[in-house]
């Protein structure tokens, strides 16, 4: 009789090998997709700030272009030939700062050593050559002039700070006046007269400072240098308009690295310029981090306490089951719906109510009745709280009954058991939920667009003016920034590098926040779950 199965060589199928391959392949696919996206973002984002070689293209039709090649593509219409996309800059002179050229139409290519890359406050980069500056000595002379002007310009910026401070105080007085008049204080009373007098005083000071500022700026703007583009047209640029400049074709690696670091520094700590396509992302970074922080402040305690009630106190009946199903489904609601709810409930409902109660004198100008970081955070808290609830419930449920019984048998109350034993033991699991919630909140854009995110916030939610933390203010956000400059910008080509950089930065921030939370979680894990039960 022949045995039904061959034990000695069970074969490929019997060992379940195909299933192992299938699971491995699924994991590999996920890794490739996620990794591919990261590679694309990092590859495009990391190189943005490295000063590119400026090439001079002499075309067969006798025109000359100076620029950096940003893309190459093959075109096949009959004959195969390639096209180049060149960033030529000089938006003010030639209209467009990106140009597609046919490789066949180029007569000669060179890299002139004296080609200048000038980053300006307006009109994007200038590519060209120095004709003359006030101080002789070519580029070195230009640099000396520029540094001097920049130092003076910093002084004017200080003046600007004083102006904005006075502005804030005038705004305060304006509100005081509004309040007094709303309460029907007599126009001739000391309160209103005092306010008016102070307002007049400040106005004089304000006008004086602004005039001084304008005068010094005008004076500074008289310092200029003359440049010439590749076609020979001359352009006079005020030195105050120049952010930085270099000669990329002769700049060494050290110089390029310096340029790169300067740009990265600017990215992290400076304000955006040129409709957000240049300059820094500081307000957006701050806005994102603070929004996530505020969101955690609401969602974390609310979620944990709700889960504790559901798991520890509520009698397990149909009501609890319905609540649990509802909570799980909350996580599946499209985020824009949360945004609309936030707009209707928090902003128009709660916010307007607050305005009517506390700031009636300012109406119809809303204070809390309009989008702000507080409402955006609350909306996101609502969106992330199911994740925290589910994670906390799971973590509490995973604690062996013996531990609860041990605590209760020692005469502990339910609350003592919760606070001293159960919550610490559940903390790693709760942290996992928290990490997921945080990552979700940091990457969410849709609900924010209608609850308080703006393209350019005039003031940040956190600043040096009392009460320092202004939760009613609108704010900037990296996710919205990506959408805005990537898809709403009039000059999409110029904004593209910034889109990559912003995406990279957002990923980096999420990674930073998650990994610190993971670190914390691992520490808790080590502390509370060594060994097994």
């Amino acid at each position: 009789m022949k045995p039904s199965t061959n034990i000695k060589s069970p074969g490929f199928w019997r060992l379940g090998e195909p299933f192992v391959w299938l699971t491995g392949a699924a994991m590999a696919l996920v890794l490739i997709l996620a990794g591919g996206m990261l590679v694309v973002v990092a590859g495009n984002g990391l190189g943005v700030f490295w000063p590119a070689r400026l090439e001079q293209f002499e075309m067969k039709d006798k025109t000359v272009l100076l620029g950096a090649v940003t893309q190459r593509s093959a075109v096949r219409n009959g004959v195969a030939h390639s096209r180049l996309q060149v960033k030529v800059g000089n938006r003010d002179l030639s209209g467009a700062d990106f140009r597609w050229i046919d490789a066949d139409a180029v007569a000669r290519t060179s890299a002139p050593p004296d080609a200048l890359l000038v980053e300006r406050r307006e009109f994007g980069d200038f590519h060209g050559f120095l004709v003359r500056s006030a101080t002789a000595g070519g580029v070195d002379g230009l640099r000396a002039d520029w540094l001097r002007v920049r130092a003076e310009f910093a002084g004017v910026a200080e003046l600007g700070k004083a102006v904005s401070k006075i502005n804030d105080r005038m705004e305060g007085i304006r509100r005081d006046l509004l309040r007094l008049r709303y309460r029907n204080a007599p126009e001739s009373g000391s309160a209103i007269r005092g306010c008016l007098a102070r307002q007049a005083e400040l106005k004089v000071e304000f006008d004086r400072l602004v005039a001084g500022q304008t005068r010094s700026l005008e004076g500074l703007r008289r310092h200029t240098a003359t440049f010439r583009d590749a076609a020979g047209r001359e352009k006079e640029i005020p030195l105050t308009d120049i952010v930085r400049f270099c000669q990329p074709n002769i700049l060494g690696v050290g110089g390029k690295a310096g340029w790169y670091l300067e740009k990265v520094w600017e990215l992290f700590f400076a304000e955006p310029r040129e409709a957000n396509t240049e300059g820094g992302l500081f307000p957006a970074i701050m806005g994102t981090v603070m929004m996530v922080f505020l969101m955690s402040l609401f969602s974390f305690p609310l979620g944990v306490v709700t889960a504790v009630y559901l798991r520890e106190y509520a009698r397990d009946g149909w009501l609890v089951r319905v609540v649990r199903i509802a909570v799980n489904n909350l996580a599946g609601i499209p985020s824009i719906v949360y945004g609309i709810f936030g707009l209707g409930f928090f902003i128009y409902g709660v916010g307007s109510g607050l305005d009517r109660l506390f700031f009636p004198e300012r109406l119809p100008t809303p204070t809390f009745g309009t989008g702000g970081i507080l409402w955006a955070s609350l909306t996101l808290a609502l969106l992330t709280v199911p994740v925290v609830i589910v994670a906390t419930e799971e973590a509490l449920g995973a604690i062996p009954a013996g531990v609860r019984h041990a605590s209760l048998a020692l005469g502990a109350t339910k609350l003592q058991t919760l606070l001293r034993v159960l919550l610490p033991m559940a903390s790693p699991g709760i942290m996992t939920g928290f990490i997921l919630a945080m990552a979700r909140a940091a990457g969410e854009v849709a609900p924010l667009m209608i609850t308080g995110v703006v393209k350019l916030a005039p003031a940040m939610p956190l600043d040096g003016n009392f009460p320092f933390f202004h939760v009613d203010r609108k704010f900037m956000h990296l996710g919205f920034h990506i959408y805005d400059i990537g898809f709403q910008s009039p000059n999409v080509e110029a904004a593209k590098p910034m889109v990559y950089v912003t995406t990279l930065l957002l990923l980096f921030i999420v990674l930073l926040m998650s990994s610190s939370a993971i670190l914390l979680r691992n520490r808790m894990k080590k502390r509370y779950t060594l060994g097994s039960f």
Partner: protein, 261 residues
């Protein structure tokens, strides 16, 4: 022989159970149990699985409250206090009636914090008092010499037997008077079991111990009195030596000589 009662009456019991009925929903698990537990003696509860011995034990510190749908009637007296009184301070009761479970269940805290847990939740914060309690309890539990240098380390790093003795130390740290033990050795190896059994005999000097066990040799080794329960009835209760050598009830005899012995 004939005048020996099936259920031994106890003079001045610390714990007195009278006509105790317990229902899980509609099904009755304990059918009118009446017995007394003498002070500073070890009483063993034996019987086949599902006979109600653990249920009876959990009545004594109201741990059955944690199970939904349990209803208890009858009287349970600790000194003059009625344990079944719904208005009773269960927290206070559990401080006087400690419990050790089948599976050792130390908290994921240090050895020290495990022992002082009961004191801390009772509001004791004085370091000197806590230190003293730790040493005293661990010495009583015969664990002091093994763990005195690792009090700050996690209790979860101890061996199974050490963990169970730590749980005993944790229970006696609050000075309970009565200790309930629910099959304390069933998850331990023979050597650890022997240590815990020795410990039970030592603790008898100061504490009233009621132990549920599956292991009849263990009941014979450690207890002074033994109660045999069968299907929710107390069948026989008497001095251990007598019960194991000359059982009065045929059911008891079947059990101690039968399949489970």
């Amino acid at each position: 022989m004939s005048d020996t009662p099936l259920i031994l009456p106890i003079e001045n019991p610390v714990l007195k159970v009278s006509d105790l009925h317990l229902y899980y929903g509609d099904s009755e698990a304990l059918h009118g149990i009446s017995m007394g537990f003498p002070a500073r003696q070890v009483t063993a509860l034996i019987g086949p699985s599902g006979c109600g011995k653990s249920t009876l034990l959990r009545c004594l510190n109201r741990m059955n409250d944690l199970i939904e749908g349990v209803r208890v009637t009858g009287s349970l007296q600790l000194d003059d206090i009625e344990i079944n009184d719904p208005a009773l301070d269960v927290i206070g009761l559990r401080r006087r009636v400690g419990m050790v479970f089948q599976k050792s269940n130390p908290f994921p805290k240090s050895v020290y914090e495990n022992v002082v847990y009961g004191l801390r939740i009772a509001g004791v914060g004085d370091r000197a008092v806590l230190d003293e309690a730790v040493e005293k309890s661990l010495r009583s539990a015969g664990l002091w010499d093994e763990v005195k240098d690792r009090l700050a380390e996690s209790a979860l790093g101890l061996s199974g037997g050490q963990m169970q003795r730590l749980c005993i130390a944790r229970a006696i740290a609050v000075n309970p008077g009565i200790i309930l033990m629910d099959e304390p050795c069933s998850a331990l190896d023979p050597r650890s079991t022997a240590r815990v059994e020795d410990l039970i005999v030592e603790l008898r000097e100061n504490y009233t111990i009621i132990i549920v066990t599956h292991n009849m040799q263990q009941a014979a080794r450690v207890s002074d009195l033994t109660a045999f329960l069968y299907e929710g009835h107390l069948v026989e209760y008497g001095p251990t030596k007598r019960l194991f050598t000359k059982p009065l009830s045929p059911k008891t005899e079947d059990y101690i000589t039968g399949r489970f012995g």
